[in-house]
């Protein structure tokens, strides 16, 4: 039962602390950005020299979080900002036991640090982490020119140091509830992996980026739910009810989508007046817009990586 390869805690298990509901008064953090404003991204390549490519990605903390950081009042953080590190090892020969493959074999691995989320994560990958890995693999497989490395493998490992919340901590899980935070994490993973692959100088057909959009019905001051609004790059902690959300992996110069993940009910949603698009069309358009926004940051990071590698054949990835 106890994990013999790790140091275990008390055999009876422990409970996370329960806080006296005192300072909930501070309330749900409010979105300070315009609906189509994105959070700033910090993306840097080449921080892990032993890997063939690496990238570190961080979202800008939301207004409420940075306020809580500068003048701490409560021990409960209002929201959190994604922080992750991505490494690429390879292309390298496949292990002896593997069967022949004419293409580059892509392996993706996403793992949360135990302290990444509001509840402590286990050391062994759970289903959501496996799920993220599969989504990421689909997003990247369409981008890499896999025929150039027969009999080779490429390992992409992502460690999430801080994840996005799925909802505001004060909310009880309700019918609208879904792991919305995971979608933001996936978008971050795609962008970071893309930078790391370019940093490893693996041939790609385009620079793929991730973007998230969501249909949100925020409560107005009167407590009446207004008509759902399309928001880009949503922080789930800032919204009472997310109706549906969508994450895409998008290649801007080819205008292609390699991965699309849509969650929630968007078909019955009628948007504001004057917008005749169906709910999911609007969502996908929104997510693509968000991905376009991330692309400028990614291009800058890749340029930086190319400059660092200068003298060697670079720019293979920036077609």
């Amino acid at each position: 039962m106890a994990d013999r390869k790790r140091i275990n805690g008390p055999p009876s298990g422990t409970k996370p602390p329960v806080f006296a509901s005192s300072t909930k008064a501070s309330g749900r953090p409010q979105r300070q950005r315009q609906p189509n404003d994105l959070r700033k991204l910090f993306l840097k390549t080449g921080l892990i020299p032993s890997a063939s490519g690496s990238a570190y990605l961080e979202f800008e903390p939301s207004a409420s979080l940075s306020a809580a950081r500068s003048s701490p009042q409560s021990l409960i953080p209002p929201s959190s900002a994604l922080k992750l590190a991505c490494t690429v090892h390879g292309p390298k020969p496949l292990p002896r036991s593997a069967t022949f493959s004419p293409n580059l074999v892509l392996t993706t691995h996403v793992k949360y640090a135990p302290f990444a989320a509001r509840t402590r994560k286990g050391h062994i990958r759970d289903s959501s982490e496996r799920d993220l890995g599969v989504h990421l693999e689909t997003a990247l497989r369409g981008v890499i020119v896999a025929e150039r490395w027969p009999k080779s493998g490429l390992d992409i490992t992502i460690t999430i140091l801080e994840a996005e919340d799925d909802r505001w901590w004060g909310d009880t899980p309700d019918s609208h509830d879904a792991p919305w935070g995971m979608m933001n994490v996936l978008a971050g993973c795609i962008t970071a992996a893309s930078a790391a692959i370019a940093d490893a100088r693996i041939d790609c057909i385009d620079l793929v980026t991730g973007g998230v959009a969501a249909l949100v019905s925020d409560q107005t001051a009167e407590g009446e739910a207004s008509s759902p609004k399309l928001m880009l790059d949503t922080d789930p902690a800032e919204h009472k009810a997310i109706l549906s959300a969508c994450v895409v992996a998008y290649m801007p110069s080819r205008d292609e989508i390699t991965e699309l993940w849509l969650k929630g009910d968007s078909s019955s949603v009628s948007l504001e007046k004057g917008d005749s698009r169906s709910g999911h069309d609007a969502l996908i358009d929104g997510a693509v817009d968000a991905a376009r926004g991330a692309h400028t940051v990614l291009a800058e990071a890749v340029r930086e990586s190319a400059a660092r590698h200068s003298g060697l054949p670079v720019d293979a990835a920036t077609t």
């Binding site: 013999r4 390869k5 790790r6 140091i7 275990n8 292990p95 002896r96």
Partner: protein, 249 residues
């Protein structure tokens, strides 16, 4: 002080084995060595020009855990430096040392294994000798505890060690080199120098120190040096094994 109780080759199926019982700590270790053996399934990890040394420590009552991995690492680092892994027949093969703690106390979680380490090291040496694995030198190891009043105690039990200010494990080669030092707990280097001197006396005797009056005292306290005990155990075994040849002469 009563010396350790040593038996060579108690196991008939292993290439070499030894059992070692330390009366003062109560630890009782049974070690076996298989060498050189093929290590199937690990062909990629094998070094092309050297033998691969593997050490397994099995605690008496529980399955092996993180603490055992750590002490295995210590033993492996030390032993691999002494084994002549490039001798004929050894490269690309394995030397597998298995040490089972059959008596005495097992280490607790987070315990650093220091009280058991000398017995484990001495057992592995004897088992290696019993398996005739070529080595560049032999060694002997001991543990010492320094109490908060500054007294140095030889081979402390786990209880004594946990209340001591610091615990030290030292191993000396047959040529007087300090091969291993594991010290834990607060101490300063002057204390450590005393510990080293005492440990050297325990392991190798004090003959090399000249004929000082005090020194002969300490020989009485520590009894026969450990190295001598190990040497005699091997000599006795060789004598028994070759009795037919000696008698024939």
């Amino acid at each position: 002080m009563v010396g350790p109780n040593v038996t060579l080759t108690p196991l008939s199926r292993a290439d070499g084995s030894a059992s070692y019982q330390c009366p003062s700590t109560g630890s009782n270790i049974l070690g076996s060595v298989n060498a050189p053996v093929e290590l199937p399934g690990r062909r990629d990890a094998l070094k092309p020009e050297e033998a691969t040394v593997e050490v397994f420590v099995k605690p008496g009552t529980a399955p092996a855990g993180v603490g055992e991995r750590y002490v295995e690492g210590i033993i492996k680092t030390m032993i691999s430096r002494l084994i002549l892994g490039r001798e004929k027949g050894y490269p690309r093969r394995g030397v597998v040392i298995t040490l089972a703690i059959v008596g005495g106390q097992s280490a607790r979680r987070g315990d650093s294994y220091l009280t058991l380490l000398p017995a484990l090291l001495n057992t592995s040496l004897l088992a290696l000798l019993s398996a005739s694995v070529p080595m560049s030198m032999t060694f002997s190891a001991t543990s010492l505890a320094v109490t908060s009043t500054g007294d140095i105690l030889r081979e402390p039990t786990a209880e004594v060690a946990s209340s001591a200010a610091s615990v030290h494990v030292l191993a000396f080669s047959s040529k007087g080199h300090l091969l291993l030092n594991e010290s834990q707990g607060a101490f300063d280097l002057d204390t450590w120098d005393n510990v080293r001197e005492r440990a050297l006396a325990i392991c190798r005797g004090t003959a090399s120190y000249g004929s000082d009056g005090d020194v002969t005292m300490s020989v009485d306290v520590d009894g026969q040096p450990l190295e001598g005990t190990i040497r005699e155990a091997v000599e006795d075994q060789v004598h028994r094994d070759y009795a037919w040849s000696i008698d024939a002469v």
